[in-house]
Symmetry: C2
Subunit: 497 residues, 2 copies
């Protein structure tokens, strides 16, 4: 057997284990009976240990070594690069240290949960300090990028992203968003949001979600919709891309906008070139690009005026008491309501990027500056006051709200805002090719939009890196102006500023 074939078979075997783990993960989060979970964790442990052994084996080391000496076709080369990157990431950390870290991580997650419940940062602090210490050590093993430890962490989630780029684009966004938020706060125009919180029966929410998924182009022969507590999309393999949602009978938005969001992720993975099936390249190329697809659908389609002029009748059908007498214009005002708030995941479209910038600045200072973990609550609250004009009353609605740091995921947060900027940039490029975008939304004919994204983004999976996709798909590098302009135009009009 050729080295290439051996290498591909080996990688596919790892992928098969990962797929088994994904089925188990999906099951655990969509209704697995609770009395079976402890034993199921043993199963996850057994399979994960096998994956780790396969990913760091001498055999894989030898295959990587041998194949690197050969001429490789494009797909094999990208496969090699991806596998080599994660192999190095695992191998460079001494096995003992990594084991200690995994144990610390699982303790830290449990303590974080308790600390959040009790709004007690001091409880979490000693664990957080250790997590940060380990991450700093790991960065040393992996190697500092262009003089910045934080760059090394960014690269894990968004290849080639740097603090230089982020400082620039976030600065630009801040200059647009902060004054806009201030103007809206001072504006006398306040939409009536009470219509959002009336009773919408769960079965109706499910039926509406299914109809919307269908309209967005979700392929039900390659996926399914289930209920969960914290919604997610999961790609098991290229023919099995599942979405989940949450039905809150007193706030339909979590189901409807959540489903549209997860559908954006799912359309990405359902439309990757089938030749990548079974390989680790059959996935999104980065967290940010993935998020660009979910946010494109959630914001640029799901909050589009024409989209709702076409679809409002759906909500009226499934919740007539709530929406029967409501004008679609009032509905649009309500779903686009802006108000500074404490919790990132509940934030509106305009203030959301500010939540991300705050976290980014803190993380950068932790790794490249001299910010200490003990100072986090104060710094956090100061920044909320400076950017959003509100100050958290306690750490549960402040620095303890997100679980990311307890898992050591420093460098992850920027992806959310990057996804948003990428999405606006795709939209601007799409407008040149599809000038009748609004008309298509008005007709419920979203196929040309999905096809455009498949051609520029989806099909490549992880074959191209984020900046390559962006450059080739929009003709330029990351440009925050598109998002800034979109927000300025939209909210100036909505609030008649």
């Amino acid at each position: 057997m050729s080295v290439k074939q051996q290498f591909i078979n080996y990688v596919k075997k790892i992928q098969n284990y990962q797929e088994a783990l994904s089925v188990i993960y999906w099951d655990m989060r969509t209704g697995a009976p609770k009395k079976g979970l402890a034993q199921r964790a043993e199963v996850v442990g057994t399979l994960s240990a096998e994956v780790f052994a396969l990913e760091t084996s001498e055999e894989l080391g030898r295959l990587l070594e041998e194949i690197s000496k050969e001429e490789m076709d494009f797909v094999t080369k990208r496969l090699y690069e991806e596998v080599k990157k994660s192999y190095d990431e695992s191998k460079k950390i001494p096995a003992d240290e990594y084991k200690e870290y995994v144990i610390l991580q699982s303790k830290a997650e449990a303590v974080w949960e308790e600390a959040k419940e009790k709004a007690d940062f001091q409880l979490f602090l000693p664990y957080l300090k250790q997590i940060i210490e380990y991450q700093k050590k790991f960065v040393q093993y992996w190697g500092i990028k262009n003089g910045s430890a934080y760059n090394t962490l960014l690269d894990k989630y968004e290849p080639e992203m740097t603090t230089d780029i982020l400082d620039r684009v976030f600065g630009q966004l801040r200059e647009t968003i902060v004054p806009l938020v201030k103007a809206i706060n001072e504006s006398p125009n306040k939409p009536d949001t009470s219509i959002l919180f009336k009773h919408f029966p769960k079965e109706g929410q499910r039926a509406a979600s299914l109809e919307i998924l269908e309209q967005l182009g979700y392929d039900f022969e390659a996926g399914r919709l289930d209920e969960t507590v914290h919604p997610f999309m999961i790609g098991l393999n290229s023919g099995d891309i599942r979405v989940t949602t949450k039905y809150d009978e007193n706030d339909f938005r979590s189901a409807i906008f959540g489903t549209i969001h997860e559908c954006g992720h799912a359309l990405y993975e359902q439309n990757i070139d089938p030749k990548l099936n079974g390989l680790p390249l059959s996935t999104g190329t980065s967290m940010g690009i993935h998020e660009s697809q979910s946010l494109f659908y959630e914001n640029f389609i799901g909050r589009n005026e024409e989209f709702w002029k076409h679809n409002f009748k759906l909500l009226q059908k499934y919740s007539p008491q709530q929406f029967g007498d409501v004008a679609v214009e009032d509905f649009l005002q309500a779903i686009n309501y802006v108000e500074p708030s404490f919790i990132r995941i509940e934030a509106d479209e305009l203030t959301y990027p500010l939540h991300i910038m705050i976290r980014y600045e803190i993380e950068r200072e932790l790794f490249d500056g001299d910010l200490q973990a003990e100072d986090l609550p104060k710094v956090w609250n100061d920044k909320y006051e400076a950017y959003l004009g509100i100050r958290p009353k306690n750490d549960a609605e402040g620095v303890l709200q997100d679980m990311h740091w307890s898992g050591g995921s420093f460098g992850y947060f920027p992806s959310y805002a990057l996804g948003y900027m990428y999405a606006a940039q795709w939209k601007a490029a799409m407008d040149k090719d599809i000038p009748n975008f609004d008309e298509l939304c008005a007709e419920g004919n979203l196929q040309p939009i999905r096809e455009w994204l498949t051609e520029r983004v989806h099909q490549y999976g992880a074959l191209k890196k984020p900046f390559e996709l962006l450059q080739e798909g929009t003709g330029e590098g990351l440009n925050a102006a598109y998002l800034a302009n979109y927000l300025k135009e939209k909210y100036t009009k909505l609030y008649q500023l």
Copy 2:
């Protein structure tokens, strides 16, 4: 680490892989999107190969060897016996032959499906012949039991079962059933079964199924109910025992009686001693004993007069147009309707054992006599005529109806009838301890019944063998008289013979 601990860890690791495969299997049969199935089969292949490697490894051989020299506690000893049995079963067959056989098996299953569709036995015949040849060779490797090759096959599904015992008990049953069926056929009393086939909405069937599961004592924190095409119960681990059912809107019986049947299986596995969790002993001790639990619930509770006097209102609630004006007595006559028919899985309670006897006699002659595969259609049809008074018009409703032989599962069929005999024997023993059985059914208070079964059967899992359980739980060995008497009494009364 002690040899015992090493052995237990090793066995638990295999069990963890099996559990992962079970999650995947359940998922594939309860709604996994079809476009993902081909790649999912690769995952099953990878994990199954690993299980086979673990089950036949030199390491396991060494552990079995070492532990056999030690003093073992009762649980470890039974664990050793079970693992050793399957280890020997796999190891005694030369690896090459086994591999050829697995390939043949998967081809044979596909050809059987086609042959059944076309009602063309000749298509299937060459594959069936080979399957039988392999099974005969395997029996030679495993060793003939008491001069009978078929005994060796029986023992795989029902430990210690022999043709001598089956000839005796089946003979006894036949003497009761055949004349009863004849008398019923000639009886002028024919119940009106048309009420069974009216429209019963799926959602109502699901709601009724859930209420009945609750009443039977199914633990929803350790299980769930899902929809499928061919219903089954699956034990993932002792805290996760799932049931599935099928909703036919024109015949509610498949959902209601099917759910009760699968619930009987599930109650067995939900009530095994938790100390066996994670071990291969945390399962039913044999196919027959497992079936005794499902059939106990399906027939001795699910067809009990008092059970329906209590529960008929449920069906009336969820299908008022169908049952609103029906008297429970007429309902009972209808669900106990007897009529000889061709298809085993659609047979009524009284004629069902005849379907099994026919298959048993054929299998015994194939392995211990000189029956040839080419003669099967004629022998099959002759036996249906002799036992049931009807002759299949073609092989699809005759010899090709069951998939068991295409998979090489010779020796499996008797378990179904054994389960039925065991169930009647448990019922007779239970009557001594719970003389108010009918009253409990009338009150919907089934807990004492479930507890009795847990005490005598469930808790032991595979710790005790079938005959041990039966002897200790009923005070005697297998006795067909209990089933014969039950059937005679019930149907003489129902049909006023």
